[in-house]
Structure formats: C-alpha cells, structure tokens
C-alpha cells in the first residue's frame, strides 16, 4: 500500500532469475506464470523498481504476475456504469491492470455492494506526488460508484521498520498523513480512516489471527521481502495489512448478514502481496478481494534511477512544495528525452519513451486533447523540452496548491471524526 516509503535496506520482494526459483511467497500454482527463458532479469523490490533496459516493462510484469490488463472495453464499461467520464488514470492507462475487477462491476450492476480499501505506511511528514496517486483514484472510485472507503494507516509497520522512529512519532506521523489523505477530497459520510495501533482489537484482531494462522513464517518473509534477520514484528505484519480486505473487520460498518466485496486500488508491485490474502480469504469464508493496479510514477531523474522515494530528496516533488520549488525541481532534475541542441531537436524530435516530463503529464494533465497535442509537437520536434516542462510545472503547481488549500482546512477535530468508530448510514447512497 505504501508508495515510496523509506527503507533501511533494499529487500527484494520478487527476484526472478534464470536458474533460481522465485523467492516470494508465491503458491506453486502461480509459478506457471514465472517461466523466464529470456536473459532479462526483472527485479522488483519494495523500495526500488528497476529494469535493465532502463524502462519498467509493465507488460512483462503483468504476464509475470498473472493479473489481467484493463482494456478500452473495460474503461467504457466503467464509464457506462457510473454515468460519468472515466478518470484520467483510466483513460491514460495509469491504472492498467486488475484482478477480478469485472466481478466487482458485475456485482455493482446487479445492485450488490462493494467497498474500497487502501492505505499507506506513514514514513515521512510530507507526502510526495506518488503517494497521492492511489488516493486520488480511490476518491474517484468512491464518487463514481458511491461506495465507502476504509483507509489503513500502518503506523505499526512504520515503527517496526524504522529504527529511528518511536511509537509516539509514528502515531503522530499517521495523523499528519491522515490530513493529507483527507485533503484529497474523501467524503466523511463514506470514509473511515484508522491507524493500526489504535484499531487493532476486537473483530479486526480476530481476522488478523485467522489470516496469520494460515501463512507460514517462510512465506511471510518472502512477502515482505525480508530475511531471518528481521524482527518478528515486521515478519508478522502481512496479516495486519491483509485483514481490512475482510469486511467483518469493520462490524460498525458492515452488519454480519451483509458482507460486501472488497476492491483494493494499489500500485502494481503490491500484487504479490495481495495474492496472499486472495488465497487465504476463501479459506476463512470470504470472497477474494479484487485489485485494480497502477503504474509507478517514475523519479524525476528517470526510470533508470529509481522510483520517487522519500529517501532520495532530489527525486520527489512534495505536496508541501511551493510553486518556486516545483519549478526548480522540474527544470533541474526532470530527465529530458529531448535532443542536445535546438537544431537537432527540431530535426529529430524528442524520445517520448524516456522523457520524464511527458510521463508526468500523462499522470497529471487532465485535458486529453492538450496532452495528445503536446506529445505530437514534442515528438516531431516543434515543441521544446523547456515548453513541455513549463506546462508540467503549471499543471503540478495547480494540483499542489489545491491540495495545500484543502489541507489547511483540515482540523484535528476533522481527523478525529474521520477516525471515530461511527456508523455510516448513507455510505452506499
């Protein structure tokens, strides 16, 4: 769930090489998806996402993981069912893969209910743009389908992972992050935010136990990308992050006789993790949660380096940045696919595959026509990198200042209300 969280060490979550079998807690039946004859090594780690050619091969990843792609027909179906234009993340293929999302749509069409589950691990005071992506999309899903959202703040994981954080500090960070999440525009009448440290008891804890009993230590280590040297707290963590996908974890929201299905918007590299709960849920008597998965926002320096990470300050644009800071970050660090000179650029055009500003515009520029126009002009060499960056700076600044304005209005009382165990009578309305 967490995106770009700080990590002390790079721990491979899934390493696929020619000879060695996969390390992650992947069931035997999944290995059919992992036949890798090619010499290409795809290393997906929790904090670093790399690909040897310098570009994330999402097609390969989807085939490897065995999830399904979201095609134009599915996007059209979503638009039809929700009677509104699809979110730009769907139109641009940012959210591009899924597991059983069609089942959720079938249920919705039949008048059945589902709820959304997403979250993050509070690791730093300020969020960066990458963090916002799953929340922006989840908010859209909430509005479009008129369904409730539960948001999990994994302050416990943050504490267990970071040697320099105390429990009190993690709790505080969680509350601060909650304010940014609320600023994304979640509807308090349909949203429940909770932190693991406060919420782990009662029905939630019972579900944690049910899941924990069905996952071996070895598998759990594989899931978190850890080793025998890790503390048992973090090794025992996966069931905590899995439990919210079981509706009985929220008795104040969902009555015993009406247990809705769960849909989890997340980044694609979380897929192997959620495979665990998809495996376990039916054994406890629940429907498998469905997933809808996104690509990863590359770091400003480009995909060769690493994804946007709080541990590498030059790679991230924060939601607390001023327009001036955004301008500096983009101009100075955003990797350009343009040519080295103006003449050469006008002749050859830009390489859109490696150009970071274009990738960012794909994520953050709303108008499709404008985006297509910029891509064409830039590729044909008529538009220069500077102009593209300028447009990007404007788009991001607008988004960030809107966020800051909304964030400034979030009070401690509002956070308390979002986190209170209150009934949500109109959550499906």
């Amino acid at each position: 769930m967490e995106v770009g969280a700080q990590r002390e060490a790079t721990q491979p979550m899934l390493v696929v090489q020619e000879e060695t079998p996969p390390v992650v807690g992947v069931r035997a039946k999944d290995t059919e998806h992992e036949t890798e004859a090619a010499a290409v090594e795809l290393v997906v780690t929790q904090s670093e996402v790399l690909a040897p050619e310098g570009r994330m091969d999402y097609d390969k990843l989807v085939d490897l993981f065995g999830c399904q792609r979201i095609d134009a027909a599915l996007v059209h179906r979503i638009a039809r069912l929700t009677s509104r234009p699809p979110h730009r993340f769907l139109r641009r293929g940012v959210f591009f893969a899924h597991r059983d999302f069609n089942s959720v749509l079938d249920l919705h069409e039949a008048g059945e209910k589902f709820y959304l589950f997403t979250g993050m691990e509070p690791s730093s005071e300020a969020l960066h743009l990458s963090h916002l992506i799953p929340f922006m999309f989840t908010k859209y899903l909430q509005d479009a389908f008129k369904v409730p959202v539960v948001i999990q703040l994994c302050d416990d994981a943050s504490f267990l992972r970071n040697n320099n954080l105390t429990v009190a500090e993690c709790k505080r960070l969680a509350r601060e992050n909650a304010k940014d999440i609320i600023a994304c525009g979640f509807d308090i009448q349909r949203t429940f935010i909770f932190t693991n440290i406060s919420y782990t008891r009662g029905a939630f804890y019972e579900n944690i136990l049910e899941v924990a009993k069905r996952v071996t230590c070895e598998d759990s280590i594989g899931i978190i990308g850890g080793s025998q040297e890790d503390n048992i707290g973090i090794v025992g963590f996966p069931p905590v992050e899995a439990a919210p996908s079981l509706p009985s974890s929220f008795p104040h929201l969902f009555p015993r006789n009406d247990q809705p299905r769960c849909l989890i918007p997340c980044a694609i590299y979380r897929d192997p993790f959620f495979r665990m709960i998809r495996d376990v849920a039916p054994k406890i008597g629940f429907q498998k949660p469905s997933l809808i998965e996104s690509k990863i926002l590359p770091a400003l320096q480009g995909e060769e380096s690493s994804k946007m990470s709080a541990s590498n300050p030059n790679s991230a644009i924060y939601v607390t940045d001023s327009p001036k800071q955004i301008k500096t970050m983009v101009n100075k660090y955003a990797f350009s696919g343009g040519q080295s000179s103006v003449e050469l650029h006008r002749k050859l055009g830009a390489n859109l595959d490696v150009d970071v500003p274009i990738k960012y515009l794909e994520f953050f520029l709303e108008d499709d026509d404008e985006f297509e126009h910029i891509k064409k002009e830039y590729k044909d060499g008529r538009m220069l990198t500077g102009e593209v960056k300028q447009r990007l700076i404007a788009a991001i600044s607008e988004m960030v200042s809107r966020h800051q304005r909304a964030r400034a209005q979030v009070t401690e009382e509002m956070v308390d209300a979002f986190m209170e165990l209150r009934p949500l009578p109109n959550m499906f309305g």
Partner: protein, 318 residues
C-alpha cells in the same frame, strides 16, 4: 380512424419540417428496410412497442445498432426486473393505428396514442439524418432528430432522449432514472382532447376510436393516474441531499445564466458563449468540488462533535 401517411406528410409540410421521402415495397423488418434505403447514408431506426404489467405502452425508438436490454430498461423505468414485454398486435392496430412492422414515433400524433410514452435513442441526436416509417411501411422518411422534435412538440409531446445502452444500478438508494417516463395517465394539457379543435392546422380527422377501447383506455388511464399520483407524492418527499456534485452543478446553474447575460451585452456570439461557459466550468470544477467537500466534511465534523458532547451532557438515558 387515425392519420394516414398523406395527412402526416401534409402536416410535416405545414410545420415547415424538412424531410425526404422514399417509396419502396412493403417492408416488415429493419433488414428489409435497409435493402432499400440503407445505402443512402442515414441512420436506420428500430422501433419497438412495449407494454408493462399495468398495460401502459412505450414506443422505444433506437438506432438500429443500439442494444436495447428490456430487463435493464424495465428496471430503469421502475417496473422491476421483468416488467416490460413486447406489446400484442392489437395495440399496434388500436392504439398506434399503424400496421404490423410499422411502429414509429410518428404514430404518436394519433389521439389514441396520447398516453404512450416515447423513448428516443440519444444516438439520434448525433446523426444528421434518421429513417422512420411515416405510418405505413411502404415508405421511409428521412429527417433530422431536431425536426422530429419539432414535429413531436407540435402536438404537445416532449421528446425524451435516453442513453438506451446505459445500465445504471437501480436499488434502494438509486431510484430508477427513467421513472418519469412512465405514462401517468394525465394527458398533456396542450394535447388535443377528442372534442377540442384548437389546433387549426390539423386536418379534422378525429380518431373515432371504437367505444369499447375508449372505455378500456379511460379505465386504464384513471388507474394509471392514481398510481401516478402515488408515486409522485413519494418523489416529492424532501430528502437531505449532501451530494457535492449536485451542489457544484447548482452553483453553475445559478452563475451560468447571469454570466451569459453579461457576456451577451459584450456582443459575444451565442456559439462562443456556450463554449466559454463550458471551458470555465471545466476549469473551475476541480477547485469548486474540493472546497465544497471541505465544507461538507467540516460541517459534519462540527455536528458530530456537538452530538457527542450532547450525549455526554445528557447521559445515555436522555
């Protein structure tokens, strides 16, 4: 009897509605019709006469390519899952007064069809020319959807365009979105009642509906009327609407006309006006929605804490 094709065409001409007319042998299906006019570039229509359990009739007029799911339509009209069926032949002959294979929106000009609900495919609006039968199926007339509208309005029928392929969820909290198209049995006040000849343009061929059917029709109408009254009172009951989307729409509905007025004073052309307003709306939308949601959440928060303190104060025994 009902209108004849010639009377209809004469009426269209009187209303200065532009159309073209194609003669062909009698056709009973869209495929057959296509053989004769399909090559001409316009959009063929398929027309269904449907009936619900309370014997109310609906003409569904759609582009030939549109998929019409009767189950979904039935739910959207608030008739439950299996509420719609194909109407029997007698309804075609008695109510629409057209022969078999000739269901057409034009049939609604007949008095006998005044209680029939017409659902038109949204897709017609984007086609320049659409093909319909003008009360007989050895002719096809071609006209634009706006001209069809003109025709319908001339005898008091409000055109209702619907996205026939949409399938919104209908449930406890999602009222059927097409419920307003179910005939209420209250004839439109501008529609010509049988005796009244207020429309001087209309040829005076009144519909001599056989007495029996008249009585039956009146009975069903009055039944439908009382049901209509029931449902409308349900709809009128006020509900607290906390939808941010609706709020933002309402704000634009207030501002747009005011802005239009002022812009018109500056001599801005009508076409530019709507694109200016749309552009403005698109740009203001995210910010407006954001602040509206903030206000909503803040109000809720205040109410929540007030309620909490009240309970503390009062104690749970009240």
């Amino acid at each position: 009897m009902g209108y004849t094709k010639d009377q209809l065409l004469a009426r269209l001409q009187e209303l200065k509605i532009y159309f073209t007319c194609y003669d062909h042998p009698v056709v009973l299906t869209v495929e057959e019709q296509a053989k004769h006019v399909g090559h001409l570039g316009g959009a063929l229509s398929k027309n269904l006469l449907l009936k619900d359990k309370k014997h109310r009739l609906y003409v569904i007029s759609a582009l030939a390519g549109t998929k019409v799911d009767m189950k979904i339509l039935s739910q959207r009209l608030g008739l439950g899952k299996g509420g719609l069926r194909m109407a029997p032949e007698e309804n075609l002959l008695e109510v629409l007064q057209v022969p078999l294979g000739c269901v057409t929106p034009f049939a609604l000009i007949n008095e006998s069809a005044s209680a029939v609900s017409l659902l038109l495919d949204q897709g017609f609006k984007s086609k320049q020319i659409c093909y319909f039968h003008p009360l007989t199926n050895d002719v096809t007339i071609a006209l634009s959807s706006s001209n069809l509208d003109k025709f319908l309005i001339s005898f008091g029928k409000q055109p209702a365009y619907v996205d026939l392929e949409a399938a919104p969820a209908v449930g406890k909290d999602n009222p059927p979105d097409l419920a307003h198209l179910v005939p209420s049995g209250v004839p439109n006040s501008s529609e010509q009642p049988v005796e009244n000849a207020s429309h001087t343009n209309v040829p005076h061929h009144q519909n001599n509906v056989p007495k029996e059917t008249e009585v039956k029709a009146i009975m069903t109408i009055s039944k439908v009327q009382s049901k209509g009254a029931e449902t409308s009172s349900k709809v009128d009951k006020p509900t607290t609407n906390t939808s941010v989307d609706k709020f933002v729409n309402d704000v634009f509905d207030i501002i747009s006309p005011l802005l239009s007025e002022e812009l018109k004073k500056l001599d801005i052309k009508k076409e530019e006006l709507s694109s200016i307003l749309d552009g403005l709306r698109g740009r203001a939308d995210p910010d407006l929605k954001s602040i509206a949601m903030t206000l909503k959440n803040a109000s809720y928060t205040n109410g929540f804490h007030a309620g909490f303190k009240t309970m503390l104060h009062r104690g749970l025994n009240g």
